[in-house]
């Protein structure tokens, strides 16, 4: 059995945050959860991490010590040093001191944080803090790693370090799930879940999601104000919901944009 969730429903007062959402998280694979503001991404991750109980539905996850969770923000203690943050995490997970030290040293080194080991986490740059958060979450070798927007606002160099850490965890057999607003990052993942207003819009590999996009994309002259048209790469394109052949080969970013447009046009 793989980790994941089935048929989750979460409500905040009158808002349905998750409306019968399911996801499978195979070991050794990175799954990206994407969607706009309020799509339910963070709620889903909180449920998967065990930080929130769904109204109905089941979460399949290992025991508490088998889950590494990085909440949105950074999940590190600003008043502790880098080393103290990791030691604290290791103690909480009852790791042997030697194993924790050895792993921490290896990850800090690959992430370029060794020189910062004695600095307070609160004094690190945003990108370094994010890397520390991910290292802390993966330190106890969790079976399930849950990362909420680990790369938002992070500069490209730190982001590449973060992606190395994430791939490292998956290569060690961990099931990784993360949220991102960058679709080129989602494309790097083995599987993608597109959420919209608490519902699953599409799921599968990036290629499967693109293939499932309804209609077709055509390039057009500038069309500001048309809700079905948008500008990308200096050119305008329009979504024709009933079209079968277009002159633009859609990618994941197009497919997710189309999903958002379809909802806007409906409402």
């Amino acid at each position: 059995m793989s980790w994941g969730a089935d048929d989750l429903v979460v409500r905040y007062r009158r808002t349905v945050a998750l409306d019968h959402v399911g996801v499978d998280l195979p070991a050794g694979q990175v799954t990206a959860v994407v969607g706009g503001d309020g799509a339910g991404k963070s709620t889903l991750l909180r449920c998967l991490a065990g930080a929130q109980a769904p109204l109905t539905g089941t979460v399949r996850r290992p025991g508490k010590e088998g889950v590494g969770y990085l909440p949105a923000g950074t999940g590190v203690y600003p008043d502790l040093t880098v080393t103290e943050n990791l030691e604290f995490r290791a103690t909480g997970y009852r790791m042997s001191r030697e194993a924790a030290r050895e792993r921490a040293a290896r990850y800090l080194d690959s992430a370029g944080l060794t020189a910062a080991a004695d600095r307070l986490a609160g004094q690190l740059s945003g990108g370094m803090r994010c890397k520390l958060g991910v290292i802390a979450a993966m330190l106890p070798r969790p079976e399930l790693l849950v990362l909420d927007e680990p790369t938002t606002g992070v500069d490209p160099v730190s982001r590449s370090g973060l992606w190395w850490l994430i791939a490292r965890a998956a290569a060690e057999g961990c099931a990784v799930v993360l949220t991102t607003t960058y679709l080129d990052e989602a494309e790097r993942c083995g599987s993608v879940l597109v959420l919209d207003e608490g519902k699953v819009l599409a799921t599968g590999t990036s290629d499967e999601i693109i293939a499932a996009m309804p209609g077709a994309l055509r390039s057009v002259p500038a069309r500001p104000g048309d809700p079905r048209a948008w500008r990308r790469g200096g050119q305008w394109r329009v979504w024709d919901p009933d079209g079968t052949a277009g002159d633009i080969q859609a990618d994941l970013q197009d497919a997710v944009t189309v999903a958002a447009i379809a909802r806007e046009v409906r409402s």
Binding site: G28, V30, G35, G36, D37, G38, S125, G126, G127, T152, G153, V154, D155, P156, V157, S158, R159, S160, W163, W164, I166, A167, A170, A171, E172, G173, T181, Y182, L183, D184, E187, R188, C189, G190, T205, S206, D207, A222, P224, W230, R231, R232, G233, G234, Q253, V256, T257, A260, I261, E264
Partner: protein, 287 residues
């Protein structure tokens, strides 16, 4: 006619530390120039020099053919990363305040905000979602019809459709003749710019269109039964390797190097053009 913005041999030192080294940069009317770089590359210092907040140690900065001043600031629209809006004023009040600061009569309430933002006019900024706040900040920066727009990470944290809509606004301003200087961390977005300038360690390391910058740079894609096995072997061989769907990518390596590192592991190895992001790392690491 002189460019809207021009840095010539601009250097800025803070004590012993050189934040910006001999930078040449121009922005002409109607063009969108993307300024790319890691944290600490010097982008923010360049922007602060253009805004007239700090001077140069060596070299010159000119806006509209003259040194930055309060006069040049009038012709400039700026959206900082933090947006620069007052959380406890409404969207309309923010625009009125900014209009007053620029010495302009506030626009009639009916026309102050673009149509899509009208429903939010009386909402406090702090209560609006980030994507909407960004659009208000844009409206505020554009209200005095600036000749030059400076945007610092304008779309950070915004979803794809919201991002496309913000770029339409940026493009609209450039079509109307304004020049735009924009910083971004997001390489996909760089394709929206007419020209790119890449900075590392305070200096310009590449400039041109995305295609020109990528040039002949290549990467290798590896598809194996188990990506993790391929990842492990490539990593052990000291190659820089990145996840790519259910395969991996190895930037800056030759197929032969990759094949050798994979050894007897069965895999499809294919040479492909590098992405802008991969080229960016080559440039940044080389500097």
């Amino acid at each position: 006619m002189s460019p809207l913005a021009q840095l010539t041999g601009a250097t800025k030192r803070f004590g012993e530390f050189t934040a910006v080294k001999d930078v040449d940069l121009t922005v002409e009317p109607g063009e969108i120039v993307g300024l790319l770089g890691a944290n600490g590359a010097g982008k923010t210092t360049v922007i602060r020099m253009l805004l007239g907040l700090i001077g140069t140690t060596e070299g010159t900065v000119e806006l509209f053919g003259q040194p930055p001043s309060r006069q040049t600031r009038r012709r400039l629209g700026y959206v900082p990363q933090s947006l620069g809006l007052y959380d406890d004023l409404t969207a309309l009040e923010n625009l009125e305040f900014s209009a007053a600061a620029f010495g302009r009569k506030p626009a009639a309430k009916k026309t102050a905000l673009p149509d899509q933002l009208k429903p939010y006019g009386k909402d406090l900024i702090g209560a609006l979602p980030l994507g909407t706040q960004r659009r208000v900040a844009f409206a505020q920066a554009l209200a005095h019809e600036p000749d030059l727009l400076i945007l610092d990470e304008p779309t950070s944290g915004v979803d794809p459709l919201g991002r496309a809509r913000l770029w339409e606004t940026i493009d609209g301003a450039s079509q109307a003749g304004a020049g735009v200087l924009v910083t971004t961390h997001y390489m996909e977005e760089a394709t929206e710019c007419s020209r790119l300038v890449i900075m590392a360690g305070g200096a310009v390391v590449a400039a041109g269109t995305a295609q020109e910058i990528i040039g002949a740079s290549q990467a290798v894609v590896v598809l194996a039964q188990s990506w993790a096995d391929a990842f492990g072997r490539l990593e052990q061989a000291g190659l820089s390797v990145a996840l790519a769907g259910r395969g991996v990518r190895v930037p800056g390596a030759s197929p032969e190097q990759v094949q050798a590192a994979l050894g007897d592991l069965a895999a499809v190895v294919q040479k492909v053009p590098a992405t802008l992001e991969e080229r960016f790392f080559e440039l940044v690491q080389g500097s």
